[in-house]
């Protein structure tokens, strides 16, 4: 598996809004290196072609659906409290489309 570069780590850190030092990047790169080597080893020893991803720890289904008449209102003030700026009851943001 391809080695993870520091540039790639910096790009992800920026996306995740993490501020990290150079030594932390170096540690992270080493850790990724170990992880990827372990994954490589698993891939070489176990054939996972027909293995279904285990999204849930147990193979169970449940039957519960919510009835359409359980109405709960209204959280407007709490929702708008989180916004930096509100205008006419709507959240105002920078325009990101042309």
């Amino acid at each position: 598996m391809e080695k993870i570069s520091v540039e790639k780590l910096k790009e992800w850190a920026l996306n995740l809004k993490l501020d990290m030092s150079d030594s932390q990047y170096a540690t992270l790169q080493d850790e990724f290196d170990i992880l990827l080597r372990q994954m490589d080893r698993i891939n070489q020893t176990i054939d996972t072609t027909h293995v279904v991803p285990m999204s849930f720890p147990f193979d169970v289904t449940f039957t519960n659906l919510r009835d359409d008449d359980e109405v709960e209102e209204s959280h407007r003030d709490e929702i708008l409290k989180n916004a930096h700026e509100v205008m006419d009851g709507q959240i105002k943001i920078h325009k990101v489309v042309e």
Binding site: T61, T63, V71, E72, G89
Partner: protein
Amino acid sequence: MNFETVIGIEIHLQLKTKTKMFSPALNVSKEIPNTHVHPIDMGFPGTLPRVNKKAVELSLIACQALHCEIDDCLHFDRKNYFYADLPKGFQITQNERPIGKNGYITITIEGKEKEIGIERVHMEEDTAKQLHYSTFTLLDYNRCGVPLIEIVSKPHIRSGQEAAAYVEQLRNILLYLDVSDCKMEEGSLRCDVNVSIRPYGQKEFGTKVEIKNLNSISNVEKAIDYEVKRQKALYLKGQPIEMETRRFDEASKTTILMRKKTSAVDYKYFTEDNIMPIQLDKEWVKQVTSNLPELPHQKEIRYQKEYGLSSYDAKVLTSNKSMMLYFEQLVKFYHNYKIMANWVIVEMLGYLNKNNQTFEQIKMKPQELAQMVQYIDEGKISSKQAKDVFEHLMCSEKTVDEIIKELNIVQISDDHLLLEVIHAVFNEFPSSIEDYFAGKDRAFGFMIGQIMKKTKGQANPNKVNQLLRQELEKFKK
């Protein structure tokens, strides 16, 4: 060079539920902004989505009507993207296991039927409504979390006309089933179209261009027709057709570039782990899918069989749910189905178009229209008089009898009275009798005109016709 057009259509449809897909907030997007938003819609920490039973029921109904294979175990996935219209950072959708797949609907173009395959029908949640101004954007989360189904067609559509017929047929079916209110202009039915062209005989698809946000069925057709022309022109000039998203510009009737698709967006789908797989009760699924109301094409066949209507009339009557409901009321009151269908299709539709109204706004009760047609058949009023009565009935809640009285409409059908008038006309215009026997056709019409004039248009035309011929024959003898 001859080209083949290949079109695939994705339709997003808002479901007619009381609450949202995963939260108990009300499903009403037209209210005061941000008044129907639940912490689940915003993806606040600690919240858990719960699947709306009615949304599942409506999805099952849609799948059944579109002849889909139904997956009775619900699985949801996360489609990850970072954008303000979904504050969770992902949309809950069904990527791996759609509730329905491999369906079809049948469209009719110029009398020919064609099957259009449906790739998949999956459930998901709607996003917030964004209002873009020159320098900022406003967000209303009322629409965020509204239940949707996305219906993806197979690339079986070959022209703008077929695309319009497909959307119209789909819309009609879903309206009949009360799955959605299907209002394209309000966004409860949204349509994205993928168009590509390829030289005839070529197996590989050409580069597809997506046209977004088409707000009417006629625009679907216009946008595709323009886009096909544009792509052909590029191809013939040797210029590349690029993968891009365009929008239809109503004013210029062209498609305009929105953005180029340099690479496919990676949504990093994975299982929605907050919703365990839900095994639907098989009996419930059976009950929901086996009780579908009669669909438009089934009604069309029945109208021809039961009411003796032409296939055209049956098609027009079933093309609009409100019109169909009106007609079904009408037939309960009188049996001259063909004539009643004519009044609905010709006069009523004409009146509504002229006055920019819809069937929901009609004041005339079906029993009154039925009564009016019965009066025509019985000779109580003429067809001409009926048109006056009809105009008055359309804009009032009065009965036919009240209108007839108000307009002072009387039809003279009494033989004795009519004969008196006929003889008065003979005395006044003896030359017309001679003209008639000299073979001048106009003379007969002239005498009818004089009789109508003398009776102020109230003489029963059929009766006048019959009596006038009878009296003229007497001269022969």
